[in-house]
């Protein structure tokens, strides 16, 4: 099959289409007497921005949007990102004027509905994670991580052990974990994984010394695996005086199956844009609430929502690490997440994790004869493959397979992550994809496996069907063009 690129070219930037004196708005007339203006030296002398009509703007962004793959348009099995369906009712409710017109500085008594919603969401997230308390104030996963390690630091300081400066992080971890620990002033020590993808317990024991502040662990791991030694891991850290930080990025696999608090975790952050279905927005907004056990409760980032006699109020814990953002959290994202939880209920959430895990395993067994599984055991929410065989045999790399999937209208899986898997392809189908979609995906992957043998150049040159083909990233970094003038 030949590939003819039928895509229309992308539009030129707004500035290159700008026409002097055009405008996309009509402003109301000034309905008050004009006031004296400041002296000209305080005023702006010139301002250059694109000048467009309303239709110019609509057509431009509509065309741009069509150049994106998205959950609404494509199967998007991007591992570790949980690209599940984003229910439309969530967006509609978040856009109620009673939510989205509220000003963050309104007195508590005028926003009782909003505060009640936040309070109930805090409560449900505590119930899901088995933790004691929760703050919704953190604005993204990495932001929640930073809050989490800051709480760990505050805890040790309060106990008179400020010398605890080491954070242990498995080598399979997302890059934000070490970056967050480092932003909090910690030293990062990497813990290797064993051959079957679990944490190396001997290495952990050795690293758990007097300097230990805590361990950051993602459960299930970025390999899609639940570490069966988790209890021992937590005990090892605790007996050395450290705390256990749980990265809840993959909570989707554990909803209703196990609670972090029961396992001995001291703090976890959740990615509501993953687990609770809020739209990823092309790179935000998200929300990364932090849930804590009783030891860390006093340190929660502010504000949290409290309740007294049926009245809700914003409050702050005694030893709070302080506010992490301008206001009270990404409220519009929180509304969507809470609507989602109310739509599913406990049984629904258990089905979410169950079906997410069944789907990932179905892909694992469907492809295991065609691509090498990184760790040959049942997975949870995602299946990690390695293309190293294809690379050695045919010179086809993970990126070539990823790009070839685009020609079949499927968003590539996550590639080259986790770092410990050579030529990694990490596939997370999520529970909202049907068996028919998975069957079609498996067939396409098998077809690609044949293409690798028969027409490898098809993969090397893929994608063939997109408005632009492989882009020169080296040139982008060398000849920087980061804006128009």
């Amino acid at each position: 099959m030949e590939w003819i690129n039928q895509q229309r070219p992308l539009p030129e930037t707004l500035m290159s289409r700008s026409v002097s004196d055009r405008s996309g708005v009509r402003l109301p007339d000034i309905d008050v007497p004009a006031q004296p203006l400041p002296e000209p030296r305080f005023l702006r002398s010139q301002l250059r921005l694109p000048e467009c009509s309303e239709l110019d703007v609509v057509r431009y962004f509509t065309r741009l949007s069509q150049a994106n793959f998205s959950v609404d348009t494509n199967f998007y099995p991007l591992g570790s990102c949980t690209m599940k369906y984003n229910p439309k009712i969530n967006d509609e409710i978040a856009a109620f004027p009673g939510f989205n017109a509220l000003h963050p500085a309104q007195p508590d008594e005028t926003v009782q509905g909003a505060l009640k919603l936040m309070y109930l969401l805090q409560r449900d997230l505590c119930e899901i994670t088995g933790m004691a308390d929760c703050s919704l104030a953190t604005l993204a996963g990495a932001h929640g991580e930073l809050a989490g390690v800051l709480m760990v630091q505050a805890f040790h300081k309060m106990r008179g052990e400020p010398e605890r400066k080491t954070i242990l992080i498995p080598d399979s971890a997302h890059g934000t974990n070490p970056a967050s620990a480092s932003m909090a002033g910690f030293t990062v020590v990497k813990i290797p994984s064993t051959e079957c993808g679990n944490m190396d317990l001997a290495a952990l024991r050795q690293a758990a010394n007097q300097q230990l502040a805590g361990l950051m662990i993602t459960l299930p791991s970025t390999l899609g695996l639940f570490d069966p030694n988790i209890i021992e891991i937590c005990e090892t850290v605790h007996s050395a005086g450290g705390l256990v930080y749980g990265d809840g990025a993959n909570l989707n696999a554990l909803l209703g199956r196990v609670k972090f608090g029961d396992l001995g975790f001291d703090v976890v952050h959740l990615n509501l844009h993953k687990t609770c279905s809020t739209p990823h927005g092309g790179g935000g907004p998200g929300a990364g609430p932090v849930c804590v056990g009783p030891d860390l409760q006093p340190f929660l980032p502010s504000p949290i929502v409290g309740s007294t006699d049926g009245q809700y109020h914003l409050t702050r814990t005694d030893r709070s690490i302080g506010p992490m953002g301008s206001f009270h959290g990404n409220f519009g994202v929180l509304v969507r997440a809470y609507v989602y939880l109310r739509s599913l209920g406990a049984e629904g959430l258990r089905q979410v994790s169950g079906d997410a895990v069944v789907n990932a395993n179905y892909i694992r067994v469907g492809l295991e004869n065609h691509f090498q599984i990184a760790y040959n055991r049942p997975c949870l929410h995602e299946a990690v493959f390695s293309a190293k065989v294809q690379q050695r045999r045919a010179g086809i790399r993970a990126i070539d397979i990823a790009k070839r999937l685009i020609d079949y209208d499927i968003h590539p899986p996550t590639m080259y992550f986790p770092l410990i898997v050579e030529e990694a392809l990490m596939i997370e189908p999520t529970e909202t994809e049907s068996k028919e979609t998975l069957d079609a995906f498996i067939e396409i992957m098998k077809l690609i496996a044949e293409e690798i043998n028969e027409r490898p150049s098809l993969l090397k040159e893929a994608p063939h069907t997109t408005p632009v083909r492989r882009l020169n990233e080296a040139q982008a970094a060398r000849n920087l063009d980061l804006r128009y003038h």
């Binding site: 962004f61 519009g332 069944v358 968003h411």
Partner: protein
Amino acid sequence: MHPFLPTTVTQRQEMLKAIDVPTVDALFSDIPERFRDPQLDLPLPLSELELRREFENLARANTVPGEFACFLGGGAYRHYIPSVVRTLLSRGELATSYTPYQPEVSQGTLQSTYEFQSMICLLTDMEVANAGMYDGATALAEAALMACRITGRRKVIVLRSVNPRYREVVNTYLFPQHIQLISCSNEDLRPDKETACILVQYPNYFGELEDIQDYATTAHSVDALLVSSVDPVALGMFKTPGESGADVVVGECQPLGAALSYGGPYVGLFACRQKYLRQMPGRIVGKTVDVEGRQGFVLTLQTREQHIRREGATSNICTSEALIATAAVAHLACLGPRGLKGVAELCYHKAHYAANLISQIDGYAIAGGDLWFKEFVVICPIAPKKINRILLQNGIIGGIDISSIITNGMLVCVTEMNSRDEIDLLARMLAEACPKN
């Protein structure tokens, strides 16, 4: 069947058979048995119709600006959002895509981000900008950290005229790295050779436009950086910090097309001089060409970032609040240069009209000088809290109570959304709220 979950019972059985496990639960056998399948005490699931009713009730329990006249600002501002902006943002291709790691299928997001970076540079008179930060406060905190990396110094000075919420967030970010944070007023501003940067706000928390050029000179005299947080709407009208010599400009883009939404999601802007580019946090998009020579966009300079550099990254941030940044781009595209200036002038005239009116009421005074934008401090005759209670009974959400900073101070904000009738009503009600002798 739940509408979000398409797998039927029969299909699940087929799939389990293919996987070769007897039950779904068998796939969770790595979880220690005694902790498996805990009780989950959550409210019962609701249908879409029930959800709508439930949340309509919650929304109804709020007092909504728009239905009430609202004079709140302090970092989040009511501005009119053209329906084009809302409509475009609801497109699933923009809302339900991920970070553009696969540029061939993310050109929409990437090109929009390039527009955002360009417009932020034009607006602030800076040389480079990133794809966006979480919000205005975190952008300021990250700018302080960046200044410390650039100068190798560990002292940051923040003016007391910077939004107190922002100052607290800066403290949260600096404290763990043992960077000294000093708050001072403009009279006792004395940076030294240990000072990495001075943080200022333009217009400041009280609405006033301070002399950025003067601060820049002071900062540069000790080789420190000047970081200015801005309200982008003010830049439609007033001289920019870039023109006045600031080295880093950050700020809150919410006033450009994002709903107030009780404080988020918003997007922070982050711009600086070209020479500091490699110390910038966050995503950056660059223009390049594809294998056939066509123009396209990619994420670039990624070696600064956490997914490559891990603990050595300039920041842990991944999110650029891309959808909200897209709103800002669409908003600015609609407004154009004259529209933005027009909005700024509407705010200016209405706010100054309101201040004039209030200054004539017995018992009230306006604090500060003449050079201010859309916010001003009213000195009330009694506690602002009491006055706000009376205003609320009369359909008005009054200004922010800043009596902890200025005795009986109320920070009043007026934008184009406040009609003359609303402003006149505010003045009348303030007069009535003043206790008569």
